[in-house]
Assembly symmetry: C2
Homo-oligomer: 417 residues x 2
Amino acid sequence: MSPIVMKFGGTSVADLERINHVADLVAKQAETSPGGVAVIVSAMAGQTNHLVSLATGAAGAGVVGENFDDEYDVIVSSGEQVTSGLLALALRKRGLKARSWLGWQMPMLTNDIHGKARIRDIDGEAFSQAVGSGEIAVVAGFQGRTKEDRITTLGRGGSDTSAVAVAAALHAERCDIYTDVDGVYTTDPRIVPKAQRIEKISYEEMLEMASLGAKVLQTRSVEMAMNHRVPIRVLSSFAEVGADNSGTLVCDEDEIMEKQVVSGIAYSRDEAKISLLGVSNHPGIAADIFSRLAEANVNVDMIVQADARGPEQANMVFTCTERDSELAISVLQDAKSKIGFESIVVDRDVAKVSVIGVGMRSHTGVAKTMFDALSAKGINIQVISTSEIKISVLIDSSYTELAVRALHTAYGLDAES
Amino acid sequence: MSPIVMKFGGTSVADLERINHVADLVAKQAETSPGGVAVIVSAMAGQTNHLVSLATGAAGAGVVGENFDDEYDVIVSSGEQVTSGLLALALRKRGLKARSWLGWQMPMLTNDIHGKARIRDIDGEAFSQAVGSGEIAVVAGFQGRTKEDRITTLGRGGSDTSAVAVAAALHAERCDIYTDVDGVYTTDPRIVPKAQRIEKISYEEMLEMASLGAKVLQTRSVEMAMNHRVPIRVLSSFAEVGADNSGTLVCDEDEIMEKQVVSGIAYSRDEAKISLLGVSNHPGIAADIFSRLAEANVNVDMIVQADARGPEQANMVFTCTERDSELAISVLQDAKSKIGFESIVVDRDVAKVSVIGVGMRSHTGVAKTMFDALSAKGINIQVISTSEIKISVLIDSSYTELAVRALHTAYGLDAES
């Protein structure tokens, strides 16, 4: 009998009323989980921002980014501490055995990169025993401790990762991530009203969906779930207790009988296209450019190199997030003479649209369908990049919705009305 | 070279502006303290009340007082956690080495009476070494941990006790308690404008002052300071940095050269006088009555027994806090037939006024001065109780200010104008 892990984000525990609803959901789960229940909670919505602004105010501009992050973690981690205590109390009020577990108590051991620590290990015999004994463990998400006994946080969205790590450590049957939507959709329902909830999706597909802009799950948590083979279920924390709330199961590809060629359409507008024109082309030039960007922590996504005016000159085009684009340009401008190029052009009015599906591996014609559908709407493709299970195109951002809708229809994902 | 311990309460760290002022005071202290500095902080003013109301809301009426207190401690202790991180950052901003220390990190080991834990030990070699090395330790007050690694809190005002415990563990030169007044006064300056700041006061006198209603220091912290011979200084956290701020030193009696016969006048209006009339007088009756009250956790203060209508019947008069008086009456009414008495009369319009001074031990006539001064103002004394270093009288509460002023003058405590 394996335990069940449940995770609730900030909007799900925003106030005492919501916390009481969460307690009802947990109580219901506990009835049918003889292997035990562990619940991971975020801070009450808004609280983390409040604590961050206090910390930033106390540190002042001179300290941020220097030796700031360890105390930042002390301050910010208090938010999850409060909710874990509150939910434990709300469960006891319902006659259940429950207690809070803070990161240092389990312990959730991490490295010492404060503010964005990585989990090393959950070394928690007492914790596992408590869950096994039927006491509901309410775990403060997002936090851990170093081997020097200092508090760390896992970075934004770290509570999802906490939840998967706890599920892995407990060899849990499943990790249920309760959120403000009722599952993962074939695409953004705000753009495509006919988008459908996906019942099952593979880790690999979910990873692409998450990293390509579907904000339901954090990439890190999906990676960890894939590595430890922990099934994740995404479902709504706002559903009535006992209501149908099956959500989306993120699981091993083998457990999905009928594989879709394309499972979903993702998009991202946080893109900038940077073109280095007239680069003097010689061996090692790409390595030179992109190692400079990597050193500056610019995360480069798509890359295209093409000859320009003969083989001695190339145009080098790449994309990164809008936020990183200023930095990327200044890094390249500073090294202009060393790299050797004529000019830089940046275009921030671009969007990336991607089709994702493990079925692509065994089906041909997936790319053709995409290009046909976009062409039929007069949408020009600027850059293409592909992987085994996804095809991404960069387009003018004003065509984003049109492209997503066209592709959703073209791959047969529209719900029947 | 012994370290200096500084403690700041909730109003002293109420917002970032106040925290920055505290950081200035600490930075100034660090300049002249080669033995190191440890700072104990409370939660930001209002924060503890906010957290308590959340905890009480989550627990609901059914859980409070049952198995509530351990999670209450998890929730409430987060307030001091935040301020310790914030002050550490504000100190770093000033170029100083500083870090926060939470109760579990030092560790501040306590018993497991959650909500009002008692400190057992500070087992902190790493902590002492850090302070000795010149890194300012910013300690989250009011909190500790049990040997089972759970968080405890020390009860309201526990940060004073944390500070004294840290000072004792570090063999500190002194524990400076910064508060919203600039020292301990001969009496309440709101009642007697001619009240004077006391430069030095003995632990014993301060204990009496504290337990008799002077709210500057918690009784527990003074007891601990006396037991460990830690000098406490009470001074203002609102003073300008570098301004004269010598406050009041609470120290061993031997270190006070000129002992006052009477050092101060204290008063308390939180008193109720309960009279059991017509008690059938037999051996063991007082033990019977007061053991019942003790079992119900009623803290009885003054006691007077007198014959009533012959030696077979007595009137038993005692005082307790107003808050406890309802409980006391119901305990006694329930046992009326077993105890054997005619009626209960309660008077809540009473106040206790006390004169305190270690010099009383070697001076005669102290009581006479008191009774004369009260009599001259026509104030009737209802109950008298004395100890080696104090005399307390119970009077009609409407005469409180008049009595305090008369006594302040009679013992020569008025400042020269």
